[in-house]
């Protein structure tokens, strides 16, 4: 399969990029004043210089920067992500614990944004310049302009405090020990508000892209031909227009997988979700280089994976792409 070949080559090409990113992040963090021991001292509320020296030796921070970098890369070659100074266990274990909430949040937010972006985009394009379009475009603009932390807090005030329908935060209910389907439902109820909050901005973007590309495709010759053939309008939209209009949407998903990881920092903080975004933030503040590099590594892999899937989707939507490669 040629598309797999293409994707394989892409994958190989991304290894130097990955290396560059890791070295770049490593060096960038060296510019931040203070190291993990300083951050630790801040947390403890003080300590003496001998303790600090001892801790620096313990975390290998007494070595020179090139030595630290070389050590890190050598460990990475052996697929060892190192030891987390914040959590006192291997970085791989810490990341593995934090990955499920982030993945769940990302997938649910993306599917929500994609689905409703598509539906509203189509509705807006169908009623262009009439009231459905005006309404949808205005609401979309409001979503786009609202900061997600504010939206999240308002959602908590309305749905958790006043209506008491949904939990205000956390990943699952700790009080009740649930298993199987009940646990899944519990986690799902905890994810509703965060997914909405994270998804709304993306929904606004998808909606505008969908609307624009629908309008563009609707004016193309083959649509006119289809209409001339006397096809009914629903069939024109679903079979002809939608399929072609979806391409820019799929492109965007690939691009935004990375953005979403970044955006989830705020949402994870507001909803106290134990995800990768918050872990990344904490590891910067605590100068935990190993954990941060580990997260960069895993996120980069995620983005590469999503782009790989995007490539496959492209080929499915537009066979010419697979043929061209």
């Amino acid at each position: 399969m040629r598309i797999l070949n293409l994707a394989g080559r892409r994958l190989a090409a991304s290894i130097p990029t990955l290396l560059l990113i890791l070295v770049g992040v490593f060096l960038l963090l060296q510019f931040a004043p203070g190291d993990t021991v300083d951050a630790m001292m801040a947390q403890m509320g003080g300590g003496d210089a001998a303790t600090a020296r001892e801790l620096r030796r313990f975390y290998g921070l007494d070595l020179s920067i090139p030595m630290q970098l070389a050590n890190y890369l050598w460990r990475l070659v052996r697929l060892d992500l190192g030891f987390s100074a914040i959590y006192g266990k291997p970085v791989a274990a810490v990341i593995l614990e934090r990955l499920p909430p982030t993945l769940l949040l990302m997938t649910s937010a993306l599917s929500f944004a994609f689905f409703f972006g598509l539906v509203f985009g189509v509705i807006a394009a169908r009623g262009v310049n009439r009231w459905p379009d005006t309404l949808i475009s205005t609401v979309g603009l409001v979503f786009y302009a609202t900061p997600s932390f504010w939206f999240g807090l308002m959602a908590i005030v309305v749905f958790s405090i006043y209506l008491q329908w949904l939990p205000a935060g956390g990943f699952e209910d700790i009080g009740a020990v649930r298993t199987g389907i009940w646990r899944m439902l519990d986690i799902a109820s905890h994810l509703v508000l965060p997914s909405l909050t994270l998804g709304l901005i993306f929904l606004a973007i998808y909606l505008r892209i969908m609307r624009a590309s629908m309008l563009e495709v609707l004016n193309l010759d083959f649509v006119r031909t289809a209409r001339a053939k006397g096809l009914d309008e629903t069939r024109i939209i679903t079979r002809h227009v939608l399929r072609n209009a979806l391409l820019p949407m799929v492109t965007l998903i690939g691009l935004q997988a990375g953005t979403m990881l970044g955006g989830s920092v705020v949402v994870e903080t507001v909803f106290s979700l134990p995800g990768l975004g918050r872990l990344a933030y904490e590891s910067v503040v605590q100068r935990d280089l190993n954990t941060l590099l580990g997260i960069v590594f895993v996120s980069a892999l995620l983005v590469i994976l999503v782009n790989f899937i995007t490539d496959l989707l492209y080929a499915r939507l537009d066979p010419r792409i697979a043929a061209d490669s």
């Binding site: 807090l153 908590i156 005030v157």
Partner: protein, 538 residues
């Protein structure tokens, strides 16, 4: 000697707007007739995860709030702020102050069933307090050995006199005991028990889910019979202050300690009948807002300039408009909550007087130049707490009015400590000084010369004064409590005269707790204490 402890409440009550005052005047609506109810889960706001939970290795409220329920200290403070035995039943010092004997409680067992003995105390003191624990390594610097003639006796031997009242006031924070049998082999810092603590306390560690929660449950074999009342305690990790306030309102949290919410949320919840918002129970966690002068800088080496800076800032205005009911005017390095050491008269003080500030600067030889500016300074605020940020902006504007241009350089925690305490790359810095029951624990190091570079919260301003050094050293080994108190009065007077650090605002941490809680906030370090008598009404 407890009157001044309540002075803050009384004073606040007189000053405040009605809503919060109602709670401060009577923070504990009378429940004397109620009988304690067993059971219930207590949900606690946990703002910042620590790298470990063993209070024998790390002295900070972030650790005590969890580890202090599971492990116990030799001594704690009672409702009047006096030392009261926990794992120690009694203590005795020789007149020379070099030998202090603790008699330990009988019939206490670790959560894993092994008996608690003096061996545990000796091991913890020599290997953890003296070597690893922050502040402990300074406090126990002259500890030479701990003898254990029998399982219920631990004899601390010191090279230099150790004032008994200093040790007893330090041990509530720096006297948590760990089990020898768990720590005697291997690297203490790497021990798995640091994140799954085993203690003798009222609650047993159950589970730590990183980034989410920590759970401890009732210890059925606790030595205080009929205690604890709660079934379990759950600490929920919530880093966002606004989110924590929302969870309190939604009923998912019962307690947010140590001013964990924003100032406006605390004021708002204070008007809500479901919550009690008060400084009570935090008297042992007093802190002052500081302004630190790097005296390596030529202008700041002149005491006239330092005094001019203090006179130029309208502190009462700042407190009234920005901090509200949670703060009061500070008078020096020892806060008024310290019943044992507060000297009463803390002269000299530096009341707001812009004309006097300008005159002092003129006198020091710094006349206004072009545009009215005399000289420029770099101010580094610590990043913990919104009050510090507001205070630094207020300093900048106030000093601008007397011709000192201030540039604010903001950093995160690690960056701030590095630049101020290691690289000394500041002219002015501002943050909190936390007072820990006795000035010798963590206050005098702010003034004593010869602090090693890079040690946070010590004298890194380059201050060197033989007179102050001598008072500090004498007081640290003075065995007679009355003489010690007099020495610290001298210390406060000298510190306020020379002003290497200015401590103009006194604050006590604010607690937000559900009105259903009983027996809460009943000791001066309640947030850190063991909560063995805490219960929830139906």
């Amino acid at each position: 000697m407890t009157s001044s402890r309540f002075e803050i409440n009384r004073r606040a009550a007189l000053l405040t707007s009605a809503a919060i005052a109602a709670n401060v005047v009577n923070p504990f609506r009378a429940f004397a007739q109620e009988t304690p109810r067993k059971g219930g889960v207590f949900n606690v706001h946990y703002g910042a995860e620590q790298r470990q939970l063993n209070p024998s290795l790390q002295a900070s409220t972030g650790v005590y709030i969890i580890g202090g329920k599971i492990q116990e200290n030799l001594v704690d403070l009672d409702a009047n702020g006096q030392p009261v035995g926990v794992l120690a039943e009694s203590w005795e010092a020789t007149p020379d102050g070099k030998t202090i004997t603790f008699k330990l409680r009988k019939g206490v067992t670790w959560h894993d069933g092994k008996p608690f003995t003096s061996e545990d105390v000796a091991f913890t003191a020599m290997n953890m307090w003296k070597k690893i624990l922050n502040y402990g390594s300074t406090l126990q610097l002259f500890l030479t050995s701990v003898d254990t003639p029998d399982p219920q006796t631990a004899i601390f031997r010191y090279e230099r006199p150790m004032p008994l009242n200093l040790l007893l006031r330090a041990l509530p924070d720096l006297g948590y005991v760990s089990a020898k049998h768990l720590y005697e082999s291997g690297d203490i810092r790497q021990n798995p028990a640091n994140l799954a603590p085993v203690g003798t306390g009222p609650f047993k560690f159950v589970k730590y889910e990183r980034g989410q929660y920590i759970i401890a449950e009732r210890n059925a074999d606790y030595w205080r019979s009929n205690s604890p009342y709660l079934d379990r305690i759950v600490w929920k990790v919530i880093t966002d202050r606004a989110a924590a306030a929302a969870q309190l309102e939604a009923g998912d949290l019962h307690y947010s300690p140590f001013s964990g919410l924003t100032i406006s949320d605390m004021a708002r919840l204070g008007k809500d009948k479901r919550f009690i918002v008060s400084t009570k129970g935090n008297e042992g966690n007093a802190r002052t807002n500081t302004l630190e002068f790097n005296v390596r800088r030529k202008e700041l080496a002149d005491v006239k300039v330092r005094r001019a800076v203090a006179h130029a800032i309208n502190v009462p205005f700042f407190i009234e408009n920005f901090l509200g009911d949670f703060a009061k005017l500070g008078t020096g390095p020892i806060p008024s909550t310290s019943t044992d050491f507060y000297p009463g008269t803390n002269t000299p003080q530096y009341p707001y007087d812009k004309a006097k500030a300008a005159a002092l600067l003129d006198e020091a030889g710094y006349k206004p130049g072009a545009g009215g500016t005399r000289f420029a300074l770099k101010l580094l605020p610590a990043p913990w707490g919104e009050d510090i940020s507001l205070w630094s902006t207020f300093i900048q504007q106030s000093l601008g009015e007397v011709g000192i241009a201030v540039e604010i350089v903001r950093n995160d925690g690690g960056g701030f400590l590095k630049q101020v305490y290691d690289e000394h790359a500041f002219d002015l810095s501002t943050g909190w000084h936390q007072y820990r029951n006795d000035p010798a624990v963590s206050t005098t190091v702010w003034y004593r010369s010869g602090q090693p570079k890079g040690a946070p919260w010590t004298n890194q301003w380059g201050w060197d004064d033989a007179k102050i050094d001598k008072i500090i050293d004498d007081a640290a080994t003075e065995v007679d409590p009355l003489k010690r108190k007099a020495l610290y009065a001298d210390f406060v007077r000298e510190a306020n005269t020379e002003l290497p650090v200015w401590m103009p605002i006194e604050q006590i941490f604010v607690t937000v707790i559900t009105a259903k809680a009983r027996n809460h906030s009943n000791t001066p370090r309640w947030g850190s204490s063991s909560w063995h008598d805490l219960w929830l009404s139906a």
